[in-house]
């Protein structure tokens, strides 16, 4: 059995959909952040897969993924910091209740 791109893409798709689902439904900011990371990782997998199967002689997809991972780490750190600050201020990280600054 040959491992084709589809074998990689389907889990990635599932991961992405999970991420979207999680992002839309979860109200906890940490959970939303995790969902976001899921989507990001799914996209990263896609980058690697397309690079590997479509343009094996080039490495752009790989590098792009490496960058994305680095940025995701930075972004997570930033988001966690914000979330912790929000938690300190509001004792809560439920996005529905965080409407103090709205309007």
């Amino acid at each position: 059995m040959e491992i084709t791109a589809v074998y990689y893409l389907i889990p990635a798709l599932i991961m992405f959909c999970c991420g979207v689902y999680g992002f839309i439904t979860r109200k906890n900011m940490i959970a939303m952040l995790i969902s976001l990371e899921l989507m990001l990782n799914a996209v990263d997998i896609n980058f690697v897969v397309f690079n590997r199967f479509l343009y094996p002689e080039q490495m752009e997809g790989m590098f792009f993924t490496l960058f994305a991972i680095a940025i995701a780490a930075a972004e997570t750190a930033l988001a966690i910091a914000i979330i912790i600050n929000i938690f300190r201020a509001a004792k809560n990280i439920d996005v529905r209740s965080l409407n103090e600054m709205k309007f």
Binding site: F23, I24, K27, V95, R96, F103
Partner: protein
């Protein structure tokens, strides 16, 4: 004629007004009063001189070779130019009636100035508050009234007409802390303003068709070779009529446009001269100080309406329908006012209604005047009556003022039996009463007799009607006289001084005016004033039968009054009980004031102004606010879309993307 004196006649009172008005409060009362009186005295001399020049100098600009009196325009200064032809000028116009009015106004005004020096202070000689203001306003009034009578064009008349209205407002409301005086002044101004609306529209119509404001162009023809001189003639008035009839729409709603214009102008006269139904302001105007009533509301301003009709008389002759209206209005008013005067308690009110009635006499006299009967006797009679009435009515008012000043009340119930206490007032008042009643040889006899003669020429109904009113006049005046001076012994209330005659400043005008009332009838008035300037031989038209009848009527009425009121007796109350309804209606002046109150308060204020104001606030403004509210509501409604919740945005995004995808696929299929 030199311009200096006419200019001074107008300028001095205006200057006195500004001077006393601005600086009066810095002066002592006495100084202000003296200055005002001296100023008026100067105008008196100048006016007498001017009138004397006009009537007796025989200069060619005043009288032509045929002995006709001419109209002379002393000066005419452009004030405001509307169009090429329609120009308001301020000028000085001399003709028989304006010269006569100069004399009347300055005489009465001077007497009132003098009289007020005594009247406007209390028994201890303390001047009233606002004494300087009083003289300032009197000067303003004199200025406006003089400007009115010498106006060479109808717009100047209108300007000064408004100014006399305003000065009358100020003087009626002189005691401005009294609510009744305030509302009386307001009423006087608004009622006359309403009438002036008619006057204004009349002027607009007249000037549109006639193409001019000038009286000379409307009613007379220029005399060749003399600038500013014109001659009253039918010819030019025919020219004006031709202008009206040749225009595109000579008839409006069944009457000729000229009639409309003249009737509208007469409406202004009705307001100013207190003709029914616009008379309601005059009785209330008695809230003003009595000298003011004598000057403005008896002798001068209220006859402005008569004067204006006389001024436009050649035009009125063109449209006798308008004259007929004047006759009817005048006759009704005369009768009505005489009825009401018979039952009033307030002596100034009696005099006020008597004034209305007498002015109505003058109006009727103008209304019945026709050249074909006694060569326009009515016109001359009207002016004559204006002259004599001014004198004797001012006398009566000043006499009433003396009484009020002595007693401190306006009601005759507080007076009675004063003849021994105030002999000068008594005798002069009696002369006034005899004059107004029309007893020979007092002045009223002559003028009233001429009015009745001209009524007879018009129709016997008018004659009988006016004779009846003349009889009533004699009755109510003597009723008043007896109730004040006889009836019963005077009872001085506890703690009061017995009433006594007033200081010379007040007595002198009374004596002077009484003297004038005695002799004014013998002035050869017809020689001086007639509608077309022709000297008028009065004796040639004197009708002894009319004179005898009117004299009999007057004497009979006086006898009746004597019987009823000379001594305290139950006859008056019996009369009153015999006709209770009539008495009540007369006493309440036929409820005209209530009717007006109803119209203004219930209809105009409550049914027009209030709903309009409500409409403005709730409908119009409500609509504007509704725009704002709707905008607010809509934005409130769509605000949640912009919730800031990214999850919602993702949902919208996903749904949108899906929908777009579906649409794309459907399209591709």
């Amino acid at each position: 004629m030199e311009m200096t004196i006419p200019v001074l006649i107008l300028a001095i009172p205006l200057f006195m007004f500004l001077f006393l008005g601005l600086l009066g409060m810095k002066m002592s009362h006495k100084l202000a009063g003296t200055l005002g009186t001296l100023g008026m005295g100067t105008i008196l001399v100048l006016s007498y001189y001017t009138a004397f020049q006009y009537f007796f100098s025989g200069a060619p600009e005043f009288i032509n070779a045929a002995g006709e009196r001419l109209q002379y325009l002393v000066f005419d200064q452009t004030w405001l130019q509307f169009t090429e032809k329609l120009v308001i000028k301020v000028g000085f116009f001399l003709d028989p009636i304006s010269a006569m009015m100069l004399v009347v106004i300055t005489t009465i005004s001077f007497m009132v100035h003098l009289y007020s020096m005594g009247y406007m202070r209390d028994h201890h000689g303390v001047y009233e508050h606002g004494f300087q203001r009083f003289y300032a306003f009197l000067s303003l009034f004199s200025f406006s009234m003089l400007g009115l009578v010498v106006a060479p064009n109808i717009f100047q008349t209108y300007i000064f007409w408004e100014l006399v209205g305003a000065s009358s407002y100020l003087l009626i409301g002189f005691y401005y802390t009294k609510p009744s005086a305030v509302s009386a002044s307001k009423k006087a101004f608004i009622v006359t303003r309403f009438a002036d609306l008619g006057f204004l529209i009349g002027i607009l119509v007249l000037s549109y068709y006639g193409g001019t404001f000038n009286f000379a162009e409307l009613t007379s023809a220029p005399v060749e070779g003399l600038a500013g001189v014109s001659q009253v003639s039918l010819g030019t008035a025919e020219g004006i009529k031709a202008m009206f009839t040749n225009s595109a729409a000579p008839v409006f709603m069944g009457a000729s446009v000229l009639t409309w214009a003249l009737v509208l102008i007469f409406m202004g006269c009705m307001g100013k001269s207190a003709m029914m139904p616009l008379h309601i302001w005059l009785p209330d105007a008695m809230e003003g100080p009595t000298p003011v009533s004598a000057l403005i509301h008896a002798a001068t301003m209220v006859v402005a309406g008569v004067y204006l009709v006389a001024r436009l008389f050649p035009l009125y002759l063109m449209e006798t329908a308008a004259l007929d209206i004047i006759t009817v209005v005048g006759a009704l008013t005369a009768f009505y006012a005489a009825m009401v005067a018979c039952v009033q308690v307030d002596i100034k009110r009696v005099l006020a209604f008597s004034t209305i009635s007498q002015i109505a006499f003058m109006m009727v006299s103008l209304g019945v005047a026709r050249p074909e009967f006694h060569e326009g006797l009515g016109y001359m009679a009207s002016m004559f009556h204006l002259f004599t009435h001014a004198m004797f009515k001012a006398l009566l008012f000043l006499g009433a003022g003396a009484l009020i000043h002595a007693i401190g009340s306006n009601d005759y119930t507080a007076m009675h039996g004063l003849r021994k206490y105030m002999p000068i007032t008594h005798w002069t008042f009696l002369i006034g009463c005899l004059a107004i009643a029309g007893i020979i040889p007092f002045s009223g006899f002559f003028s009233k007799d001429e009015i009745l003669s001209s009524c007879l020429g018009y129709s016997w109904v008018a004659y009988l009607w006016m004779s009846l009113v003349a009889g009533m006049t004699a009755f109510y005046m003597f009723r008043l006289y007896y109730l004040i001076f006889w009836w019963k012994e005077h009872e001085t209330p506890e703690g009061h001084h017995a009433p006594h005659d007033q200081p010379w400043t007040m007595s002198l005008p009374l004596i002077f005016l009484a003297a004038v009332s005695c002799v004014a009838g013998f002035i050869p008035f017809g020689e001086l004033v007639s509608w077309n300037g022709h000297p008028y031989d009065f004796m040639a038209h004197f009708d002894w039968s009319v004179a005898a009848v009117s004299l009999c009527v007057a004497v009979a009425a006086i006898v009746l009054a004597t019987v009823m009121y000379r001594k305290e007796n139950p006859l008056p109350s019996k009369m009153r009980n015999a006709l209770p309804a009539l008495w009540t209606w007369c006493y309440h002046r036929f409820y005209w004031d209530e009717l007006y109150m109803f119209i203004t308060h219930s209809i105009i204020f409550r049914s027009v102004c209030r709903p309009l104001a409500w409409f403005d606030r709730h409908i119009i403004d409500g609509t504007m606010d509704a725009f704002a509210t709707v905008t607010n509501k809509v934005s409130e409604a769509i605000k949640p879309l912009q919730s800031g919740q990214i999850q919602m945005y993702v949902w919208y995004y996903l749904i949108g993307a899906l929908a777009l995808g579906v649409v794309t696929i459907l399209c591709l299929l």
